[in-house]
């Protein structure tokens, strides 16, 4: 299992797409830092002191950075996971690995561990990078007042996003071809993404139907719930009726409960179990 994990880890590192992603990430962080610096500088020169205004703009800017980070982490997780088993089956590369004294479950688990390790490191670096840029370059106006405890809690939820995507990616990869799995996973991601916005809008407008649509989409693919929960921890805005006003579309008026976190944990474990089971019973 650990050999497969190591191979899986190294395989992503060896891909050109990973190198491109690293360069683009550095470019994004540079751009984000520059924007934060000049926004903070201009805000300081204009002397904006309104608390609500300060809260809105600072959390908007940080929320935006984290949302985009979440998006690129998700994209990289989708690209690396959805082809991990199916492409090896299609190319017959998997034959010699599975001919070894190794169970199919161990193979899936090795893939999961290898990809997760890399994605967790990448997601953590990106998350911490955004927070540090905000704290360092945000000045008095755009710096969000966060404690270390809030950052750690938010980070731990943020890191669950790539884990869930990798698990679903592996499940799809164990069931279908790379192209089909990719399409299904991107659609699922889109459902979770749009459903999350619909739920927040529903909460703001007081429309139960919209909220329910959002909840169903989150049950189907709970990525947006994780992002919302992360913002709640980071901005300490649980049960705050003004949070949506303060944080805009990146905030969380309809807050995912702890029960949702438990659901996501079970969701991930069941999906991982199904991936192992499917892969163990299928022909390659």
């Amino acid at each position: 299992m650990w050999t497969i994990a190591k191979m899986s880890f190294r395989e992503i590192l060896s891909k050109r797409i990973f190198l491109i992603t690293i360069f683009m990430t550095i470019a994004f962080l540079l751009l984000y830092g520059t924007a934060t610096f000049y926004a903070a500088k201009e805000a300081g020169e204009n002397g904006m002191q309104d608390v609500l205004e300060q809260s809105f703009f600072s959390t908007q800017l940080l929320g935006m950075g984290l949302y985009f980070s979440s998006f690129i982490v998700s994209l990289l997780a989708i690209l690396s996971s959805v082809s991990s088993i199916s492409s090896e089956i299609e190319s017959h590369q998997i034959d010699t690995w599975l001919a070894r004294p190794l169970s199919r479950s161990s193979f899936v688990m090795g893939k999961f561990i290898g990809q997760s390790m890399l994605m967790l490191v990448y997601a953590a670096v990106l998350f911490v990078g955004i927070i540090l840029l905000n704290q360092w370059l945000g000045g008095t106006f755009l710096r969000v007042d966060v404690s270390m405890g809030q950052v750690v809690k938010a980070l731990s939820v943020f890191l669950l996003q790539p884990l869930i995507i990798i698990i679903i990616g592996l499940l799809l990869s164990s069931l279908m071809s790379t192209i089909n799995g990719g399409i299904v996973l991107i659609i699922l991601y889109g459902i979770g993404f749009i459903g999350g916005f619909i739920e927040q809008l529903g909460a703001a407008m007081g429309k139960v139907a919209l909220q329910n649509i959002g909840i169903v989409s989150s049950l189907l693919f709970p990525i947006d719930s994780l992002f919302r929960k992360m913002t709640v921890y980071l901005f300490d805005s649980a049960d705050d009726p003004f949070s949506f006003a303060a944080q805009g579309i990146f905030g969380s008026l309809s807050t995912p409960s702890n029960m949702m976190l438990a659901y996501i944990a079970v969701y991930g474990l069941v999906a991982l179990g199904l991936a192992m089971r499917n892969f163990s019973t299928r022909d390659v």
């Binding site: 050999t3 497969i4 190591k6 191979m7 190294r10 395989e11 060896s14 891909k15 190319s91 017959h92 590369q93 034959d95 010699t96 690995w97 599975l98 001919a99 070894r100 004294p101 190794l102 169970s103 019973t281 022909d283 390659v284």
Partner: protein, 321 residues
């Protein structure tokens, strides 16, 4: 430890009720080079992939190294070179071997030595640190052979192991298979190249249209018919084989030189050879030479294939009637 390293009982793998292999019952003795023969599409690779646990049998059962196929125990000491060999091209040859050695549980120092030895054995000395993506097809097959041998397995499956190799490479692989047999290993050679199988195999099985046609020791299987080349003095009556139908099944004149004629005679069995010589002597014919002709694998192969076809034809006619 039993003397049979592979045993199958009516092993069947069908794809939507078609193709694959059907009811293969097979025994492979330990320490031999076993040739698994068949035309393209006969089901050879399906059988091997089923044995390796890559595909699940539709029915029947099989054991490898005393354990049911599909279990980790059955693959504990097995090497495999697939017909469609593809390896992660971002690894170097050495890294590939080390990864496989690690999966087989070899220690770090043992791993390094083993990999270096194998790189040399398969003729890739000095090329082990190059990425596989830079390897030619033949080099990839060579690294695949090294990969199959990395755990020093008791049983090695070679599925068309020389398909990408030049004549020198083919010869080296044949020598390697003999060497493995000398070390007490079992080689399961899947091939449609009859000359390759004939050269190295002790035992063969012939598969046709997914079904087993024949199996056993190559020496015994090759005794499908007894043929002798016999040179006799010209018979005054013309055909020296007149009135010998009790012994001679077929006769064909191969050549005639002066007063001598060379004939190819098909007999019922080996015991008929001295009887034939005795009969000819009794008739006063001069016998200049008698040589038993060794059957070529090609003849044996076609004999069993056509026999199977004939039976299938009879079955079909009976079903129609």
């Amino acid at each position: 430890m039993t003397d049979t390293i592979i045993q199958t009982w009516n092993l069947t793998k069908q794809y939507d009720g078609k193709a694959g292999c059907r009811e293969i019952t097979l025994q492979v003795p330990r320490g031999v080079v076993f040739g698994f023969l068949g035309p393209n599409g006969a089901g050879k690779s399906t059988f091997v992939r089923t044995m390796m646990g890559l595909i699940h049998p539709t029915s029947g059962r099989a054991e490898m190294l005393g354990a049911p196929i599909g279990t980790i125990e059955s693959r504990q000491s097995v090497g495999y070179l697939p017909e469609l060999f593809r390896y992660p091209d971002w690894l170097t040859g050495t890294q590939l071997l080390e990864s496989h050695a690690e999966l087989c549980g070899l220690g770090r120092s043992e791993r390094k030595k083993r990999c270096n030895d194998l790189i040399e054995l398969v003729g890739l000395y000095g090329r082990g640190d190059e990425k596989i993506r830079g390897y030619s097809k033949g080099m990839q097959q060579r690294i695949g052979i090294a990969c199959a041998l990395v755990s020093d397995p008791q049983l090695v499956f070679f599925d068309e192991p020389t398909s990408a190799l030049d004549p020198i490479g083919r010869k080296q692989v044949r020598e390697l298979m003999r060497e493995l047999r000398n070390q007490g290993k079992t080689v399961f050679l899947n091939s449609h190249l009859l000359s390759e199988v004939e050269d190295v195999c002790d035992h063969v099985a012939i598969i046709h249209k997914g079904e087993m046609v024949a199996q056993g020791e190559w020496r015994k299987l090759s005794a499908v018919k007894t043929q002798v080349e016999i040179t006799v003095g010209s018979s005054p009556g013309g055909n020296p084989w007149a009135d010998t139908s009790a012994l001679v099944r077929e006769s064909e004149r191969l050549s005639a030189t002066g007063e001598r004629e060379t004939w190819l005679i098909t007999l019922a069995d080996e015991d008929s050879i001295p009887d034939l010589v005795h009969l000819l002597s009794a008739r006063g014919l001069s016998i200049y030479g008698v040589t038993q002709r060794q059957q070529r694998l090609e003849d044996v192969f076609f004999h069993y294939i056509s026999q199977k076809e004939a039976w299938a034809h009879v079955d079909h006619r009976q079903n129609v009637v």
